[in-house]
């Protein structure tokens, strides 16, 4: 065979896109995803009903419930579908033919992540649209909620990156536990500052500093209260949050790629 006719490896973008499209197809043909989406849409639709039977400002209750539903169901999707993204390919050995193809291992990790993030973004968009419809039906402007929804998606991007990292070297149960732990600890990162103040000077305080700077500050990306109560956010806060989330996710994914690169598949 002449060199001109020799098969050429695909470009990185084409390889990542092919895997992302396949991951997207896989996710949208998974019934669990529809179940989670249906539950969340139902909850958002029912939030108006709940606002009647709850003491407090109806508008705030609808907004609070709606945004919480988006966050909770988004995280559940991210954890329970996300942790099996890489593991399922290893377990079912579909990975063998993929990695024997002329693609690099990081193409696989990036493709899986981007494909799944597309699914999450569509899910969040659908849930947001449902919430906006409920608010518009009440004659309320929903646009104040946009920053909160965008930063929720950033949180999901970060959590999914951890799900991919964990699933590149361990089983789905441990991956789910690890990812959920990151989510919970990430939302309590403010407590490291509190703990630091109560500790004497020394190693304990330094450990708090290290933990605080290494773990994702998901609480800073949670601006639901601002959105619900109409409180203003500092200038550039959303943009900073997006940059922080993207950079953090990239670092976690690079780590996942490094782990995956070293793995053998016996």
């Amino acid at each position: 065979m002449s060199a001109a006719l020799e098969p050429k490896p695909p470009r990185a973008v084409a390889a990542v896109a092919a895997i992302a499209v396949n991951t997207f197809r896989e996710a949208i043909r998974d019934r669990i995803l529809y179940l989670l989406l249906a539950f969340s849409l139902l909850l958002i639709a029912a939030s108006r009903l709940l606002s009647f039977i709850t003491v407090g400002d109806e508008e705030k209750i609808v907004k609070d419930l709606g945004l919480s539903a988006i966050a909770v169901f988004g995280v559940l999707t991210s954890v329970f579908v996300g942790v099996s993204l890489v593991f399922k390919e290893i377990e079912k050995k579909t990975l063998y033919t993929l990695l024997a193809s002329p693609i690099r291992r990081w193409h696989f990790v990036a493709g899986k992540y981007l494909g799944f993030m597309t699914v999450l973004a569509i899910n969040v968009s659908l849930m947001t649209a449902a919430l906006f419809l409920v608010l518009l039906a009440r004659g309320e402007a929903p646009w104040m909620l946009v920053p909160a929804v965008v930063l929720t998606l950033v949180q999901l991007a970060l959590v999914t990156a951890f799900a991919v990292l964990f699933s590149s070297f361990t089983n789905p149960v441990l991956s789910a536990l690890g990812t959920l732990s990151v989510y919970v600890v990430g939302h309590l990162s403010w407590s490291f500052d509190l703990l630091k103040k109560r500790l004497p000077l020394g190693a304990g305080r330094r450990l708090c500093d290290v933990a605080h700077s290494l773990l994702p500050s998901l609480d800073r990306l949670d601006v639901k209260m601002h959105a619900v109560h109409g409180l203003p956010l500092p200038d550039g806060y959303v943009l900073f949050g997006i940059c922080y989330g993207v950079c953090y996710s990239v670092v976690v994914l690079v780590l996942a790629c490094c782990v995956f690169e070293r793995r053998g598949f016996a």
Binding site: E26, A100, S101
Partner: protein
């Protein structure tokens, strides 16, 4: 080297390949492949034989880059398997393949065509032609979850050959197929050779290997036992004759009685002289010689001879390694 003096680069070159795995609970190590060396030339069908646990799958996984060897080197077209340019020229079918069951056959091959850099224009035609070639043209839009094992195996072969690779690496391609399916796979492998491509496959179905391979290697306990052309490894001389005799056989007739049923006996007769005596004396005793088969050495004899010294043991972690 060719007759014109040009050096022909092997498509696969393995030297000193060694791979071991941790034992249960991380205690000890099992050596799956030890100091393996072999080459596969262009346009050659090379069969890797061995009992279960011989190290065949582990070897193939190291060749395609799924496993990293502890020691030794693997070169595909002169490049390491980590080089995507080398992997662009191979097609791989793993043992007992499982594919994305939520895809249709058409979507599945389209996905692999993309991974092999087949352009949008050529992809559709290539997918259709490949499905036709493996006899799945009528199932293009069927979800893979509805495919039988034989259909999955054929789809796996379609995936491995879709991009017209210079080398097809097939792990137990005839496994689980009925005789018709095995025949189709054999024909496909032969057609690959006819188009100038190389095929490196593992199998423990000796009959298939004997029918189509140019060269074979026998692996047992992770070590190479024999490698070479079939006609040099297997002697074609007659070892003995099997003679079928109808009626009672006199005690004076030479040969060992192998079996007897329905008044017919099977004799094992060593050498032409003894056969001549059988053919002369049996009719005189009132019995009748109904058939004579010369028994030559087969690949099975060679295989059993090479594998017998070492009892097969599970050395790898892969199902068929």
């Amino acid at each position: 080297m060719t007759s014109t003096g040009t050096v022909v680069e092997p498509v696969v070159h393995i030297a000193g390949l060694t791979k071991s795995f941790r034992g249960h609970l991380g205690i000890g190590r099992h050596t799956a492949v030890e100091d393996l060396g072999l080459t596969v030339g262009p346009g050659e069908i090379f069969g890797l034989l061995g009992p279960n646990g011989a190290g065949k799958t582990t070897t193939l996984k190291m060749i395609v880059g799924l496993l990293r060897p502890d020691r030794g080197t693997v070169r595909l077209f002169g490049k390491p398997p980590t080089d995507v340019a080398a992997r662009a020229r191979i097609g791989f079918l793993p043992e007992n393949p499982y594919f994305y069951d939520y895809l249709t056959a058409e979507e599945f091959l389209d996905f692999y065509a993309r991974l092999h850099g087949v352009g949008a224009g050529a992809r559709r035609k290539k997918v259709e032609a490949t499905l036709e070639r493996v006899g799945l043209g009528g199932s293009a839009r069927t979800a893979l979850r509805k495919f039988s094992k034989g259909m999955i195996q054929r789809l796996g072969l379609a995936q491995a050959t879709l991009h017209e690779p210079s080398l097809a690496i097939l792990d137990e391609p005839m496994s689980g197929l009925d005789p018709v399916g095995r025949r189709e796979v054999r024909d496909l492998i032969l057609s690959l050779r006819e188009s100038g491509r190389s095929v490196f496959f593992s199998s423990h179905i000796l009959q298939d290997v004997e029918m189509i391979c140019d060269r074979v290697a026998i692996l047992a306990g992770g070590r190479l036992r024999a490698v070479g052309r079939l006609d040099t490894l297997v002697s074609r001389r007659i070892l003995w004759f099997e003679v079928s005799v109808a009626g009672p056989i006199p005690a004076s007739i030479p040969g060992e009685r192998m079996s007897s049923s329905g008044g017919e006996s099977l004799l094992r007769v060593a050498g032409v002289e003894a056969l001549r005596r059988v053919l002369t004396e049996v009719p005189l005793s009132g019995a009748q010689v109904t058939a004579v088969w010369p028994r030559r050495e087969t690949l099975e004899d060679l295989f059993l001879r090479e594998v017998a010294p070492e009892k097969p043991q599970p050395v790898g972690r892969g199902a068929g390694s």
